[in-house]
Amino acid sequence: MNTLLNVEDLRVSFPTRTGVVEAVRGVSFSLGQERLGIVGESGSGKSQTGRAIMGLTPQQAEITARRLEFSGIDLLKASVTERRALRGNRIAMILQDPKYSLDPVMTIGRQIVETLRTHEKIGKSAARERALDMLAAVQIRDPRRVYDLFPHEVSGGMGQRAMIAMMLIAGPELLIADEPTSALDVTVQLDILRILDRLVIDRGMGLIFISHDLRLVSTFCDRVIVMYAGKIVEELKASELAQAKHPYTQGLLNCMPKIGADRHPLPVLDRQPEWLL
C-alpha cells in the first residue's frame, strides 16, 4: 500500500495568557488509501490534528513534528504558496456544519466552480458542467436547481452534499472529514457516509474521518485511532473495537445508552490521572 501521509510526533501548542496549552502532544500515524478514524472527546486534539495537516492551524500556534509529509512533500517546510496550492486541490477538508462553512452570499454552484477554477485552468461552461456532474455524483437529484440555490435554501443534508461536492471537485488524494455528519439526522448521516464511502473506493482516496461518535466510526472506518488529551491512547482495527484494551476506549464504548440494555445509572468514565501522561 502506498503511504500517502506520514505523521511523526506531531505537536500543536497555543500560547495563551496563562501559559502554553498543548492541544496535540506527539501524535504519529501513517495513512494509505484507506479510511482512518480519529475518535475522542472535545478537547482531545483530534480536530487540531486534522487542521495541522490541512494547514489551517491559527497563526499564533506552534507546530512541530519530526515528520509531517504528504506524498513526499514536507508540509512543515512548504511555503505558504505551496500549502495553498495543496489545500483544496490535493488535500481537502469537510467541516461539521454546512450552515457555517458554506459562503452564505454565494450560490452553491458558484462556490463549487470557484474551487475548481482556483486549481485548474478550465473554461466557464466546462467548469459549470463539471460542477453539475459532481452534484449528481453526491446524489443530489436535481443538480440544475440546486446549483442556483443559496446555502440557506437547502437542508442540512443537502448542504453537506454540496460541501462534499465542492471538496471533491478538484480530485483530492487526501480527504479530511471533521465531524462531517454530526449536525445531521441519523438517516441522512448514513446517506452521506454511503456517498463518501463510494467516492473513497472509486477514486482511491485516503480518508481521515474525525468524530466523537465511536459507534459510527467503528462501523465506517478500517482503522481507528483513539485520542485523549492530545495523545493517541490506542490504535486498533475498527472490527476489533470491542476488544479495546485501554480503559478510556472501553469507557467511551460503555457509557452510551444502548437499546435493550437496562443499565441505571449508566456507567460513567472514571478518568485516571495516568491517562494524561
Binding site: 454511503r194 465506517f220 457509557c255 435493550g260 441505571h264 449508566l266 456507567p267
Partner: protein, 249 residues
C-alpha cells in the same frame, strides 16, 4: 389521578407551514415520556407549544387538570420548566451562575435565596466554586448542569427536556442522563423528553412517540424497541440507522 399533561389535537402553524398536525398526548404524573423523530418532525415544536413559545392555532393543553390559555399565569411558569439543547446558547453570557439562578427566584418571590442557590448547585454536582463563574468559564457539561439547576430551583413538577444531551460528548452525556434520572427519582418529576437518539430515549423514558412531518407515526413502550416490536417502517428505519454504518455487500 389527573394526568400531569394532557394535549388534545394540538396544531401549530407558522405562516403557511403546519409544524404540528393535531397531535394528542397524555402524560401521567411521574411518568417519563419520550418524543423521537428527525429534524422537522415537530417533536421540539410540541414541547415549545407546551412551554408557550410556539403559536398554537387549535387544540388544547391541560397541565395538572388546568386548561392553559394564551396567557399563562406565573404559577404555570414555576410548575413547568424547560431545558434546552444548546448549553452555549441558553445561558446569559454576561451573568454569573449566581445571578442566573437568582433571577427565577426573584421573579417568583422565593425567600431564602442563598440556601436555595447553594442547594441547587449541590444537587447538580457543581460545588459552590462554580457559583461566581460566567458561563464561558464552564465546559458544555457544566453549563448543562447549570441549566438543569436553573430549571429545578423553582421546584417544578414537569420538566420539558429538548435534546438535553445531544451537544455533549458521550461520556458527559452519561453523567447528565444519570443526573436527570436521579433528580426525577428524588423529586418525583414528570419528564417530557425530546431526542433524535433512540438509545437515549429508551434509556430515559417508559413510553415514547415516534413523529414524522408533524404527525404521530406510532406510540411504543421502551421495551418494544429492544424486542423490535414496531409496526411502522419509519421506526424500523430509525432503528437500523441507530446501529451505525452498514457497507453494502
Amino acid at each position: 389521578m389527573t394526568p400531569a399533561l394532557s394535549i388534545d389535537k394540538l396544531r401549530v402553524v407558522y405562516d403557511d407551514f403546519v409544524a404540528l398536525k393535531d397531535v394528542s398526548v397524555t402524560v401521567a404524573q411521574g411518568e417519563s415520556f419520550g418524543l423521537v423523530g428527525e429534524s422537522g418532525s415537530g417533536k421540539s415544536t410540541l414541547l415549545r407549544a407546551v412551554a408557550g413559545i410556539a403559536p398554537v392555532s387549535s387544540g388544547t393543553i391541560d397541565v395538572s387538570g388546568k386548561r392553559l390559555g394564551k396567557l399563562r399565569d406565573k404559577e404555570f411558569y414555576r410548575q413547568v420548566q424547560m431545558v434546552f439543547q444548546d448549553p452555549y446558547g441558553s445561558l446569559h453570557p454576561r451573568q454569573t451562575v449566581d445571578r442566573l439562578l437568582l433571577e427565577p427566584l426573584d421573579i417568583h418571590g422565593f425567600g431564602d435565596t442563598e440556601k436555595r442557590i447553594q442547594r441547587a448547585l449541590d444537587e447538580v454536582g457543581l460545588g459552590s466554586g462554580f457559583r461566581f463563574r460566567y458561563s464561558h468559564q464552564l465546559s458544555g457539561g457544566q453549563r448543562q448542569r447549570v441549566a438543569i439547576a436553573r430549571a429545578l430551583i423553582l421546584e417544578p413538577s414537569i420538566l420539558l427536556l429538548d435534546e438535553p444531551t445531544s451537544a455533549l460528548d458521550a461520556s458527559v452525556q452519561a453523567e447528565v442522563l444519570n443526573l436527570l434520572e436521579q433528580v426525577r427519582r428524588d423529586r418525583k418529576l414528570t419528564f417530557v423528553m425530546v431526542s433524535h437518539d433512540l438509545g437515549v430515549i429508551t434509556h430515559m423514558c417508559e413510553r415514547l412517540m415516534v413523529m414524522q412531518g408533524g404527525q404521530e407515526v406510532e406510540r411504543l413502550q421502551a421495551g418494544d424497541l429492544a424486542t423490535r416490536n414496531v409496526a411502522q417502517d419509519y421506526t424500523r428505519n430509525l432503528l437500523v440507522a441507530s446501529e451505525g454504518f452498514v457497507r453494502d455487500a
